[in-house]
């Protein structure tokens, strides 16, 4: 393949200076609707992230099934994660939490694991606009589905013409801006971290030993966690607004 899925130090060192690579590469192509599309390195990393999450879910399920009266070890971790996510969703969405808890929880796990996958040498899938756009579009659909469901057409129209009928175009732009800003924020934050790490490993060669760990902590862990939280929080707030403004 020649192109690195991996951004590992070893590979960067092997081609020090010559190969600064944080781009998305095609793996193989196929035709659909008369267009040539590629399965890219993003999809490979996406698959790995999915496998990690699915593996974790299966392990958790096994632990739950085998659980005795007193929770131990791995089960404690699983409980901690689920309770933490549920607590976060409950605090953001209140009484609407139960309907969206599973999706928001899945979203949180996926974005977080994606963002920190740079730590195991993957190119984070969230550093591809195709991924973040999809997530933001789902959020967009959730917002407007719930808006129509709970506020009905009259409520939506009233909302658009708020405070005055001529503000409608601006309100529409504002609605459309939501998924764009959501997706671009996540994409750009993670891409910048990925680009900087690639530059550090690509340009500094052997000098980039050990100390980039600090950069990983910032760009992968800190920024990754923050962006995950922001994305989920905004999704919950928008959806809650769509539901709650009437009731």
């Amino acid at each position: 393949m020649g192109h690195g899925i991996l951004l590992s130090a070893a590979e960067a060192e092997a081609s020090a200076g010559s190969d600064i690579d944080f781009m998305i590469h095609g793996v193989f192509s196929y035709e659909i609707f008369g267009q040539t599309v590629w399965i890219t390195t993003t999809h490979v990393c996406l698959l790995i992230v999915m496998l990690i999450i699915i593996g974790f879910c299966l392990a958790a399920n096994r632990a739950v099934k085998k659980a005795g009266t007193v929770p131990t070890g791995f089960l404690n971790v699983v409980e901690l994660i689920v309770e933490m996510l549920d607590g976060m969703i409950k605090s953001a969405m209140g009484s609407n939490a139960t309907k969206f808890a599973n999706y928001i929880g899945t979203l949180f796990l996926f974005i977080f694991i994606s963002n920190i996958s740079g730590l195991i040498g993957l190119r984070p899938p969230t550093a591809d606009y195709g991924v973040t756009l999809a997530l933001a579009l789902i959020t967009f659909c959730m917002i407007h589905f719930n808006k129509f469901k709970y506020q009905h057409v009259s409520g939506v129209i009233k909302g658009l013409c708020d405070p005055w009928v001529f503000w409608a175009p601006i309100n529409i732009i504002g609605d459309i801006a939501v998924p764009v800003s959501l997706s671009l924020r996540l994409f750009a934050n993670i891409l910048s971290g990925t680009a900087i790490m690639a530059l550090v490993y690509g340009l500094l060669g052997w000098i980039a030993t050990a100390w980039p760990a600090a950069l990983h902590i910032y760009f992968d862990l800190f920024s990754g966690a923050i962006q995950t939280y922001v994305f989920c929080m905004l999704t919950m707030t928008y959806v809650n607004d769509a539901i709650g403004s009437e009731s």
Binding site: V37, I54, N61, P71, Y103, T106, L133
Partner: protein, 172 residues
């Protein structure tokens, strides 16, 4: 494919659709395998703990009631024991009195009998002395008749006899 970073083209749409499928799959797996079972387990556990606490409270109440009952019973047992003891004491006192009375009676009877015996003995001794004196008188009379004349002799004889009586009879 040229290396890409950000393009608004059909590939982006394709990526987005694939991603939606991926997140849908993840949602299904995570819901069925992670979130729902863990939530159910946590709920079961909290229910079980609540039930245990409730049961414990109930048991405690029961135990308290039992304790009260037993304390009451113990109190009444004390009372009963007190009653039995006092009855026994009264009975013992009565017995003691009757025994003492009987003992006194017995003692009285013994004393009376002893007195009687002493009296009888005295009587007997007195009778004996009388008989002795009669005997002596007759002996003395005999001796007086024998000696016959002299008063001085008579006096001496009486003295002698009295001395004999005094020494032998009165002393015995």
């Amino acid at each position: 494919m040229e290396p890409r970073l950000f393009d608004l083209d059909f590939q982006l749409l394709h990526d987005a659709v694939l991603m939606m499928i991926a997140i849908f799959v993840l949602l299904l797996v995570a819901s069925n395998k992670l979130f729902n079972p863990v939530r159910k387990m946590l709920k079961d556990r909290s229910d079980r703990i609540a039930k245990n606490i409730e049961d414990a409270e109930k048991d405690k109440e029961d135990a308290k009631a039992l304790k009260l009952e037993y304390e009451d019973r113990l109190k009444s047992i004390d009372k009963e024991a007190e009653q039995i003891l006092s009855e026994a004491r009264a009975k013992a006192l009565k017995n003691e009195e009757s025994i003492l009375a009987k003992a006194r009676e017995d003692a009285q009877a013994i004393i009376e009998r002893a007195n009687k015996e002493a009296e009888l003995e005295k009587q007997r001794v007195a009778d004996e002395v009388k008989t002795e004196m009669v005997n002596l008188a007759s002996v003395l009379a005999g001796k007086v008749v024998k000696a016959n004349v002299d008063t001085s002799v008579q006096d001496s004889l009486i003295d002698e006899t009295l001395k004999e009586i005094g020494e032998s009879t009165w002393l015995s």
